[in-house]
């Protein structure tokens, strides 16, 4: 297929593998975090590790919107669906995420709640139009990529005078999460987690541009290479990062020039600014309360804010005690370090969110990479 196959070319992959092997110095290790779940998925689905030398380590970051959603917010959504008799619309991935006591939206649906899977928030608006006597709530999640469409839905709801539509907003922000990881004691003080550089987000950067990442490169002296979601994009960015590390540079480079500019999509940014504002703090699974890391709906759109329309408690939620999702999302632990990985926690009955979404590190490890466990001799982290 045109414009896709070119970025999955086997021969080019071999050439890049040779170049990476030549560039990687044998006397050191390279720890590279791919922030986005999209990259994690591509790495496992295409077997990108098979092309990398043993001293180049990919650390999987928290960039999977389903994975970072705290249990409390799932509980809220279940409450909305069960106690308020609303039609709760959401993306398919979220249905299976376990909340407190193993309750999920899928289970709520089976027990009679009206939960519907949609492909876009505009579908939720259509459902609201078709069911004028019912309250319809869209459970919105996602990073900067899915925020503009939610903004569009809110604006059209207002323009068309909907009285039965609202959004339960859980949109989060990438730069705040990266800062949080770099500021975490494991990375900053203890040095227990090595992070030498970042593969920067693809679609998120298409919206916000590469400019916001310049701060990290400068402040934390970590190189960032924005990369596309195809396997050759990932390999090319790894090569670019290794070269920066070898030269002692810490810059923002853009591998994904076919889509990403320094400024990003200004129109989408303006749309988001019109509808949303920063929350002072928001809880992330694994990262805890992160300041200014999420968006809420502005006062002008308050009538479409499910948190104002219904009583949404600030429940803390109960996670499975043995679940290591938190540490895995910070890059402190690997999925295989978790005691319940692959035993009681599997994609069929996930205990933690990282096992639910196909972009989650645990699900990717389990679904695509399990065969490596016994074959690979683990190199201890420095």
């Amino acid at each position: 297929m045109k414009f896709v196959d070119e970025f999955r070319d086997r021969e080019l992959a071999q050439n890049l593998a040779t170049a990476i092997a030549a560039a990687a110095r044998p006397d050191r290790d390279y720890y590279i975090m791919e922030f986005c779940g999209g990259h994690t998925h591509a790495i496992f689905r295409y077997g990108v590790q098979d092309f990398l030398p043993a001293n180049v380590h990919l650390v999987h970051g928290p960039g999977c919107p389903v994975c970072v959603l705290p249990v409390g917010r799932i509980d809220n959504a279940v409450e909305l669906a069960c106690d308020n008799d609303v039609i709760l619309c959401t993306y398919g991935d979220l249905l299976r995420v376990p909340g407190s006591n193993g309750m999920s939206l899928l289970r709520a649906k089976a027990e009679g709640a009206d939960v519907r899977m949609v492909y876009s928030c505009l579908d939720a608006l259509t459902i609201a139009a078709e069911n004028p006597k019912r309250e319809v709530v869209f459970f919105a999640i996602g990073f900067e990529t899915t925020t503009p469409p939610t903004a569009v839905a809110l604006k059209s709801a207002k323009a068309q005078g909907f009285t039965n539509f609202s959004v339960f907003c859980n949109h989060v922000l990438t730069p705040a999460a990266i800062t949080n990881i770099l500021e975490s004691p494991e990375v900053r003080n203890l040095g227990t987690v090595a992070l030498d550089g970042f593969i920067g987000p693809a679609h998120v950067s298409a919206v916000i541009g590469s400019q916001p990442f310049e701060f990290f490169a400068e402040e934390y002296q970590r190189p960032v290479v924005i990369a596309g979601f195809e396997p050759l994009d990932v390999m090319q960015s790894v090569l670019m990062l290794i070269r920066q590390m070898n030269d002692g540079r810490a810059e923002v480079e853009n591998e994904y020039t076919r889509v990403v500019t320094r400024e990003g999509n200004v129109k989408a940014q303006a749309l988001v600014a019109e509808v949303f504002e920063l929350r002072a703090a928001f809880e992330w699974r694994g990262l805890g309360l992160v300041p200014y890391s999420a968006l809420r709906i502005k006062e002008e759109f308050a009538e479409f804010d499910a948190e104002k329309r219904f009583s949404v408690s600030s429940s803390v939620g109960k996670e499975n005690k043995a679940c290591e999702c938190g540490a895995i999302l910070r890059g402190v632990k690997k999925p295989t370090d978790c005691k319940i990985f692959g035993t009681v926690c599997t994609p069929e009955s996930p205990m933690g969110s990282c096992m639910v979404s196909s972009e989650g590190a645990c699900a990717a490890y389990y679904t695509f990479g399990r065969f490596r466990e016994e074959e690979r001799q683990e190199t201890p982290r420095k």
Binding site: Q14, F44, R45, R370, F371
Partner: protein, 349 residues
Amino acid sequence: MTQARKPYVRPIDFENRRVDLTHGSGGRAMAQLIEELFEKEFDNSLLSQRNDQAVFEVLAGRMAMTTDGFVISPHFFPGGNIGSLAVHGTVNDVAMAGAKPLYLSVGMILEEGYPLADLKKIVQSMAAAAREAGVMIVTGDTKVVEKGSGDGIFITTTGVGVVPEGVEVSADRAMPGDKVLVSGSMGDHGVAIMSKRENLTFETEIESDCASLNGMVEKIIAAAPGVHVLRDPTRGGLAAVLNEIALQSGVGVKVREADVPVRQEVHGACELLGLDPMYVANEGKLVAFCAAEDADNILAAMQADPLGRNAAIIGEVIEDSRNFVQMETAFGGMRIVDWLAGEQLPRIC
């Protein structure tokens, strides 16, 4: 003496009427529906005896029997409908034992208010599919449920067939060294349904591959009576079938993504919809496992069948106590092809 007057029976108005509760009540309306629709279309001596069961001679040897419920939504899709699917699906399940399918039974659950015109089209497609596959629909049952208690039409078909002597096809017979073949491109049915359901239009319409494979199976058995495993990759796609066989046979499977045939349009639609063709349903394809020396003969037999022109050898069976299905990606790396978790596409058949 006055002669008893023969009552006039107004033929069913299939064009304008709808299914109502009397069509399943056991009264005249039901008898009329059976006569004017099912008997007329399915047309065979066993059905027209109008008994509550079909009685037929049993041949010596082993028989194969299967049953399958069809709840697909939408009922009509490019390349077929719920009726043709209900025949093909069951014929294929019988054929995957290496058997020759002979008889089918049909159970229909209709919802009050379903257009009789649609029912007629569905029954006609079933009849055509049965004729094409050389099987007889010999007995059936019709029930009508109140509006709101069903989704228009659900069909259950049961099939029986005979297994030729000396044929021993079973999913626990794959062994290390076996070759793995598929009879054609993967994912056509699932993508056809999905594109219809989501109202997505592509440049070329993707048709379901829905077809009976008993003809191809006959050719395969003739070419290599010792073929180990045959299975049709329906729900869960190729990935599910390879995992089932690996587990049942206690082996591992290694396939090459580059050798798995996927049509360009299907590949494109999967990219767009975020689906993996390995997991998308097929309704007219089969997977075969056979000894390495039989592989070329079976491949030739598949390719000689009009439904198997794109058949290919896609991998091998290896020893693996973990029963993993591994794939060398087209990119060149290795990955697992795992069981499907959750539901990729509900109500696909």
